[in-house]
């Protein structure tokens, strides 16, 4: 299964991408996070939340969504 990854806000600048498609499989959200930090060392000390299929989820949750969003700290208002 492919997953579509979208980067928001400052994470677009950090990775130089707004989105990409991954063909790798990940058992949990946390393992995707580790994969991404290895691929983009600039993400290492960043604080970001991960959502799958439009729901923010914990690192311990199984990754079974097809749309993954990387969300830096919120600053609305």
């Amino acid at each position: 299964m492919e997953i579509r990854l979208r980067y928001f806000g400052q994470l677009q600048e950090a990775t130089g991408k707004s989105e990409e498609v991954l063909k790798e499989a990940f058992d949990t959200i946390g393992s995707l996070r580790n994969f991404l930090i290895q691929r983009y060392p600039q993400l290492k000390n960043r604080n970001f939340k991960i959502a799958q299929d439009n729901k923010i989820d914990m690192d311990s949750s199984p990754l079974n969504g097809s749309l993954i969003d990387l969300l830096p700290p919120f600053s609305g208002g």
């Binding site: 439009n54 969300l71 919120f74």
Partner: protein, 146 residues
């Protein structure tokens, strides 16, 4: 009470005339005795000698609208509110312009005072909205909420 998920986002700044329109729509709701409105305005902060000219907002709008819906429903069940309206800008909003509008109404003033700050704080904390502060010299930094 059950409400539909609403889209809180509007393109660009929120005009004062839009706020007036929204207030005017409540004149037929004669059970209302108190309105409380919060407006967020873009500040010309000076950071390291450079002045903010505008904020450019982006958001994960699907999640933001869903989370906002949950905040809204929780407030309706916790407080005696007649109406609630929430709008947030996307795109560029210049300093001095309004980017955030939260409007609550109730028969009495207690519930509007109690609920408004809670709703505003929750929205700022929980909605995936991202502000990019644009400086006069075309450089930028990412806004951090305190």
């Amino acid at each position: 009470m059950e409400h539909k998920i609403k889209n809180i986002f509007v393109e660009g700044a929120i005009a004062p005339s839009k706020i007036a329109e929204s207030i005017g729509h409540h004149q037929s709701k004669t059970e209302i005795g108190a309105h409380n409105i919060f407006l967020g305005q873009v500040r010309a902060d000076e950071i390291g000698g450079k002045k903010v000219n505008a904020i450019e907002y982006t958001a994960q709008t699907e999640i933001a609208n869903q989370v906002c819906h949950e905040i809204r429903e929780a407030a309706f069940s916790k407080y005696d509110l007649s109406c609630m309206h929430i709008y947030h800008s996307l795109g560029v909003v210049k300093t001095g312009e309004i980017c955030f509008f939260v409007f609550v109404s109730s028969p009495h003033r207690g519930p509007v005072f109690d609920s408004l700050s809670e709703i505003v704080n929750e929205i700022k904390d929980k909605l995936p909205i991202f502000g990019k502060e644009l400086f006069e010299d075309q450089s930028h930094q990412w806004k951090v909420n305190q």
